[in-house]
């Protein structure tokens, strides 16, 4: 075929929309793979449907609006304009979060001046939102509904095809040229051995392979291993985002389009959000970053504490969980950018470094990267130029460098380095970079690359080493993760499940997740060397797993259960066993199934 795309997210949707319009506008464009036919453009998506994406989306939507000048959010379920926006500092009502001395002093001061700063419900609404954070005039979206809408537009035009339930295992590479993709084998056992109905993964040859498979996509990872990253680039900053979609109580006073950005709780490093969709529905979630150095950084437990913060709970109490999901975010942005153009291949979307961690925005940026590549490809096609590295660099990378996307990514490049030195310094660094468009960067020295702290280091102000060791031993005997025991001993209250909104993670999988794991595919999470896992002390992969799909087995080794995996990919960047070539002991490959939730 002519163009094979990997992954159908906002970036590929933007690319395909641009290409589809180009094909419609220029009937003389001819396929090189099937002469006489229009260009053959296919997209292979891992998930079972184009509607199963996950993201907490509030966006200014500049690129989306540029593509659809008459964009009307009312045409998309759960979409609506932003009507009011607040930035809120949440204090800790339990005294359990790990706050530095200066931050505790600042909290004390706020409590002292509660009337003057209008502190209510253990929170302070900041009187001003920095312009770089502001999303007005934008809109709230459900990622799944947006991609479903975009796919419907594309399919009705009939110029491109989208194939869901088609995981791609790897790129086909001949020397330095990417020549296509290989779909995963079907009819295998969990180890990948041929089983009933074995069908080897088909090779799809294409003149251009467009890789938009996200931050932890198998094809993107494979290309990064083969070609490396440009000199000086690295992927160090990650986050795991987790969200709930909630039916708000009938008595809610929150208007559609209300947007809250939060900082300060449940840990200072954890940012949160609440967006109100039309129809008395809200998305609420948190981002737990890689620079939060807890080795027991359970996002689910923190999310439950977050929604119960008095400022938010007054809106959410009595609500009901509709949906739930999680995803990894590649927060290195431009510093984590791979080679955008290769011979026969181009990278777009989050895996190409489009997420802007300063503005907290990624969907519109991803869409923009897809549109820019689409314009470049049409230009090359119309001029009869091949899709080699030089041509793609001149047509695509040059467009990207000249765009607002790249300018804003440059401004964000070092904006959050301060968080490695503390919450307040991080905020100061963000403010300086954000308010000056990246011209003023506070000189924070970054730590050399390292994983989370050991549990003893992390708990040193609260728990003695002997206590930590006793907890570890006890949890190993019971074969359970450590996070609940550590948080309980650190002062976090237990979660009083109500069966509606406060539920166990396993109930969330049933109520809001609906994970599917079709038989006949190899497990997409595998461990290279069991001895390394056995020797691993803190097993962050177990602690941070969004769905408890990685849990200790009877031998104490992490074991993977595909029927609980939501494909968030947190395990791959939380594995602390990194070899000399930079590879972790955990493989996160292409897998079928995953969340069947249409509202995330």
């Amino acid at each position: 075929m002519d163009i094979a795309c990997v992954g159908f997210g906002p970036a590929t949707a933007g690319f395909l929309t641009t290409i589809s319009r180009g094909i419609a506008a220029n009937p003389t464009l001819e396929s090189k793979a099937a002469p006489g036919q229009p260009p053959q453009v296919l997209c292979y998506e891992r998930a079972d449907d184009v509607v199963f994406g996950v993201s907490g989306v509030v966006t200014r939507g500049r690129a989306i609006r540029a593509t659809f000048p008459d964009f009307d959010p009312a045409q998309i379920p759960l979409a609506g304009p932003v009507t009011e926006e607040k930035l809120i500092y949440l204090l800790d009502p339990h005294g359990a979060s790990r706050r530095s001395l200066p931050l505790r002093a600042a909290d004390g001061l706020l409590r002292l001046l509660r009337a003057a700063v209008r502190m209510r419900h253990q929170a302070v609404e900041l009187p001003w939102i920095p312009p770089f954070l502001r999303k007005e005039p934008g809109f709230v979206l459900s990622m799944g509904q947006f991609t479903q809408w975009a796919a419907s537009q594309l399919l009705s035009e009939g110029n491109v095809q989208i194939w869901p339930a088609s995981p791609v295992s790897e790129p086909l590479v001949d020397g330095a040229r990417v020549t296509g993709i290989r779909l995963v084998d079907q009819g295998t056992d969990a180890e990948g051995r041929p089983d009933i109905g074995f069908t080897p993964g088909m090779d799809i040859r294409a003149a251009l392979t467009v890789v938009g498979d996200g931050p932890v996509g198998a094809v993107g990872q494979h290309l990064d291993r083969l070609f490396g990253l440009p000199e000086g680039n690295a992927r160090r900053e990650w986050a795991l985002g987790m969200k709930m979609v909630v039916d708000l109580p009938e008595t809610t006073v929150l208007p559609p389009g209300a947007v809250f950005h939060t900082i300060g709780y449940p840990e200072p490093e954890i940012f949160g959000f609440l967006y109100v969709h039309p129809g008395r529905v809200a998305s609420v979630g948190i981002f737990v970053p890689s620079w939060f150095d807890s080795p027991v950084r359970t996002v689910w437990r923190y999310l439950q504490h977050f929604i119960q913060h008095p400022y938010l709970w007054r809106f959410l109490k009595g609500g009901r969980l509709r949906s739930w999901g999680a995803k990894s975010l590649q927060e290195s942005g431009r510093r984590g950018e791979p080679f955008l153009a290769l011979d026969g291949c181009a990278r777009i979307g989050e895996g190409s470094g489009t997420t802007n961690s300063l503005t907290g925005s990624g969907v519109d940026e991803a869409w923009c990267s897809g549109v820019l590549l689409g314009q470049a490809v049409l230009e090359l096609w119309e001029n009869g130029h091949p899709f080699n590295r030089v041509n793609l660099k001149n047509a695509y990378v040059a467009r990207r460098r000249a765009s607002w996307l790249d300018q804003e990514l440059q401004a964000a490049e070092r904006a959050r380095d301060g968080f490695e030195r503390g919450f307040l310094r991080g905020l100061a660094g963000m403010a300086a970079a954000g308010l000056t468009g990246g011209r003023l960067l506070l000189p924070f020295r970054r730590h050399p690359h390292r994983g989370p702290a050991t549990l003893e280091e992390f708990c040193r102000r609260r728990l003695r080493s002997a206590h930590v060791e006793a907890l570890r031993t006890n949890c190993r005997i019971r074969n359970v993760p450590l996070h609940d025991a550590v948080m309980r001993c650190s002062g976090w209250p237990d979660i009083a499940c109500d069966g509606q909104l406060l539920v166990s993670l396993q109930d969330a999988l049933l109520l809001g997740g609906k994970v599917q794991a079709p038989a006949g595919f190899r497990d997409h999470v595998r461990f290279r060397d069991a001895a390394i896992c056995r020797a691993c002390q803190d097993r962050v992969c177990v602690e941070m797993c969004s769905g408890q799909a990685i849990a200790p087995d009877e031998d104490g080794l992490p074991a993977f259960d595909r029927e609980k995996c939501v494909h968030c990919g947190a395990c791959v960047w939380n594995c602390t066993a990194i070899d000399e070539e930079g590879q972790s002991n955990l493989i996160f490959g292409a897998g079928a199934g995953g969340l069947h939730s249409a509202e995330n």
Partner: protein
């Protein structure tokens, strides 16, 4: 063996894994957030399609048509997956997928669509479908399509279908107690409402998908809206059955202990 003309009737339905909530609308009952729900091909009819594709391979020269009713965008999406599962020629009708349409009216439009298929040979016709539906659980639609088409050899709950050397069929119909009723049918035309059959879901075949898409896109463009008159049907109330959920994760509990706990829970209730 003579080539067969196999028509599979199967509709697009809301994904049963989603939270599906009926509500009373001005124009009758509907589903809450119907547009938002992802769609799938009706699982019962999917088994029928897989069996039809396998049968067509077995009987050289046979053809398979898929007659499907659903909202246009959902049909488009579902076909991207279904087209990889077996070779078929699509015939589409636009209509609702919420499951509240009158079965009688649904059967009428589907029967008309089958009768209008160009080149179909009634003497070779096998009508396949699901014996149940994930949305239209009455299990009567297929039967009424057959009656409207004058097909009176009807089998429901079919799990196995074998073509014999003389062109007759051996049919296994599911009955109570995990048993099957085995019948002989002299030949087409006949109707088969499939249960789960004995085949698993076929592997995705991307080449098959691309081949099918050549006919799927024109069929989507040519599809007409189905007129589903309520014809006096009235719904007095629509609601979800009440349910309770109490989930615990327990390891290594014996079946006896689990049974005792369930028994005790039932007694408490």
């Amino acid at each position: 063996m003579n080539p067969l003309h196999i028509v599979v009737c199967g509709s697009v339905v809301p994904d049963p894994l989603q939270t599906i909530e009926p509500l009373a609308g001005l124009a009758g009952p509907a589903l809450k957030n119907e547009l938002l729900l992802p769609a799938i091909f009706d699982p019962w009819a999917a088994h029928a399609l897989y069996e039809a594709a396998a049968l067509a391979k077995q009987c050289t020269g046979s053809q398979v048509w898929l007659v499907s009713l659903g909202p246009k965008p959902k049909l488009q999406q579902v076909m991207m997956s279904l087209a990889q599962k077996g070779a078929f020629t699509p015939v589409f009708l636009y209509g609702p997928a919420h499951g509240f349409a009158d079965s009688h009216a649904t059967a009428a439009v589907l029967a008309d669509a089958v009768a209008a298929i160009h080149g179909i040979d009634r003497s070779r016709l096998l009508l396949f479908g699901g014996w149940e539906s994930a949305s239209r659980g009455q299990g009567v639609t297929l039967q009424m399509i057959g009656e409207r088409l004058g097909i009176f050899d009807q089998f429901q709950g079919v799990d196995r279908f074998t073509v014999r050397d003389d062109g007759s069929f051996e049919v296994w119909e599911r009955i109570e107690g995990g048993k099957h009723l085995v019948s002989l049918c002299s030949g087409p035309p006949a109707l088969f409402g499939w249960a789960t059959g004995e085949r698993g879901e076929p592997r995705n075949d991307p080449q098959m998908g691309m081949k099918n898409m050549r006919s799927v896109l024109p069929a989507l463009q040519q599809a007409k809206p189905a007129s589903l008159a309520a014809d006096g049907l009235q719904y007095l109330d629509v609601r979800l059955p009440s349910q309770q959920r109490a989930t615990r994760v327990v390891r290594d509990q014996s079946p006896e202990a689990i049974a005792e706990e369930i028994f005790a829970w039932l007694q408490d209730g």
